[in-house]
């Protein structure tokens, strides 16, 4: 179980998060949608302290952390119970695909080398690129790199995986296969908090959708409700942009 309560964050006096609450139950997928600049990515980065929130609490499993009082150990604990998938993959470019995954097991989690390699290989097999295990990130396509990114996340058996627009940097024809992979993970019971612009994916896979605007969760609920019958005007305005894709005339 994962929770964030009352998260506030400013950058140079500029309020980005205005008291955000999020709850993700075990095995649940929660999608965060919203326009650019609404604070989605910052929220996700505050969840594992890549960005330090000014106020609020973060809970992973049984561990509650007050972000104001969090010390190095608290932050490390939270990070070792979670995993992060980046928009631009951020694979370690000095490590092979296999090295990228096993590094996350050996160094921070003290898994013995052989055991780590075995788990890493399993994870790579699960995301379908076991044959690229010895390749460096520069030798992989975007889609393959993001698969490694996902393998890195599942290999450490986290309580929750944070995904920051995992398909935004991909070519259109690769987006589908990554979303399919994430759907499989969701069906297999992975807990995920995902920032995405893929409305159809959110519709199909998410248990809950949060719509964010100006640093607040404006509306939340099951995807069918949010997408079919949005209550808030701001949500409607945002969604109109997706449904109106085919409206314009040339």
């Amino acid at each position: 179980m994962f929770e964030m309560r009352g998260i506030k964050k400013s950058f140079n006096g500029n309020r980005v998060l205005n008291g955000v609450d999020v709850t993700v139950d075990k095995g649940e997928v929660v999608a965060i949608i919203g326009a650019s600049g609404s604070g989605k990515t910052t929220l996700l980065r505050c969840a594992n302290f890549l960005e330090r929130a000014d106020e609020g609490n973060v809970r992973v499993g049984d561990k509650w952390v007050d972000v104001k009082k969090a010390n190095k150990k608290d932050i490390l604990d939270i990070r070792r119970m979670t995993a992060f998938v980046f928009q631009n993959y951020s694979l370690f470019s000095n490590k092979t695909a296999l090295g990228n995954v096993s590094e996350c097991l050996t160094t921070p989690r003290k898994v013995p080398r052989d055991e780590a390699r075995r788990i890493a290989m399993e994870a790579l097999t699960r995301v379908g690129i076991a044959d690229k295990a010895d390749d460096y990130p520069s030798e992989l396509s975007g889609g393959q790199q993001q698969r490694v990114g996902i393998a890195r996340a599942i290999a450490v058996s986290p309580d929750i995986i944070f995904l920051d627009e995992p398909t935004s940097a991909l070519d259109p024809e690769l987006i589908g296969e990554i979303l399919l992979l994430l759907k499989d993970l969701a069906l297999a019971g992975a807990t995920m908090l995902i920032v995405t612009h893929e409305i159809r994916f959110a519709m199909e896979v998410a248990n809950q959708v949060l719509f964010m605007d100006e640093g607040l969760v404006v509306e939340s609920g099951p995807p069918r409700e949010i997408f079919r019958f949005p209550k808030e005007e701001r949500t409607r305005a945002f969604l109109r942009r997706f449904t109106s894709d085919f409206d314009y005339q040339i």
């Binding site: 990070r79 995993a83 951020s90 000095n94 590094e103 921070p108």
Partner: protein
């Protein structure tokens, strides 16, 4: 001309035996300088440093050491402690040690800049990815960012080594008998009639040694970069 060449061929072997001392001094200064340089960089941009006295010291040190002519610092380090604290026995240390100390101190300031540039060229997402997967800051630097930055720094490190090898030629001024020391001695002993020949020979030896060093660093970079494809 024939005489010139004959003389050169005759004295080259005499000089070659002083090359090791030159290279040893340079290598020692290179390694110490690099270590101090890393330490300076850590003082300057280590985690949680903004402004602070550590950073101020590192920046001030860099400016001070880069703006003093090596020859002056060499004299200061060689004569300073001897005359101020004669009881310490500073003067009994082997002379090359003073050269190594001088060049380590001066070039550490340059090393810090080389490392800072290399470190800055690595995408900050690399460290974030490491942190997000539960590595500590130190582990992220040591295992992910450092190795990548090192490859980026290699060409500059090669130039630094070449520079330091050339700089060690100043050590003869405190009486070190290295390549340069030997050539000045020989020159004096031959009443300055073979000056051009002698300096030509020693130039060739510095060139040769530095050419090998350049090749070595180039080779190391290609070898380490293989497959990893970090943008140069």
């Amino acid at each position: 001309m024939v005489e010139f060449i004959e003389y050169v061929i005759q004295v080259v072997p005499k000089f070659m035996k002083y090359l090791p001392l030159t290279l040893e001094m340079a290598l020692a200064a290179f390694l110490c300088g690099a270590l101090i340089g890393l330490f300076l960089l850590w003082l300057e941009i280590g985690p949680g440093r903004r402004g602070g006295p550590a950073r101020l010291f590192a920046v001030g040190y860099g400016i001070a050491l880069r703006s003093v002519p090596s020859i002056i610092l060499l004299f200061l380090i060689f004569y300073g402690p001897q005359s101020l604290f004669p009881k310490l026995g500073w003067g009994r240390l082997p002379k090359p040690v003073f050269a190594v100390i001088t060049f380590s101190l001066i070039y550490s300031a340059y090393f810090a800049q080389v490392f800072r540039g290399a470190y800055g060229s690595i995408d900050k997402g690399q460290l974030e990815a490491a942190l997000s997967m539960g590595l500590t800051h130190a582990q992220g630097i040591l295992r992910i960012v450092g190795p990548q930055a090192f490859i980026v720094a290699l060409p500059n490190l090669g130039s630094m080594m070449v520079l330091i090898v050339s700089e060690t030629s100043l050590a003869y001024l405190i009486g070190v008998r290295d390549l340069m020391g030997e050539v000045t001695t020989l020159n004096a002993r031959s009443y300055n009639v073979k000056t051009v020949e002698l300096y030509f020979v020693v130039t060739m030896i510095y060139w040769g040694a530095n050419a090998v060093i350049e090749r070595f660093f180039g080779f190391a970079e290609r070898k380490l970069r293989q497959g990893r494809g970090n943008a140069p």
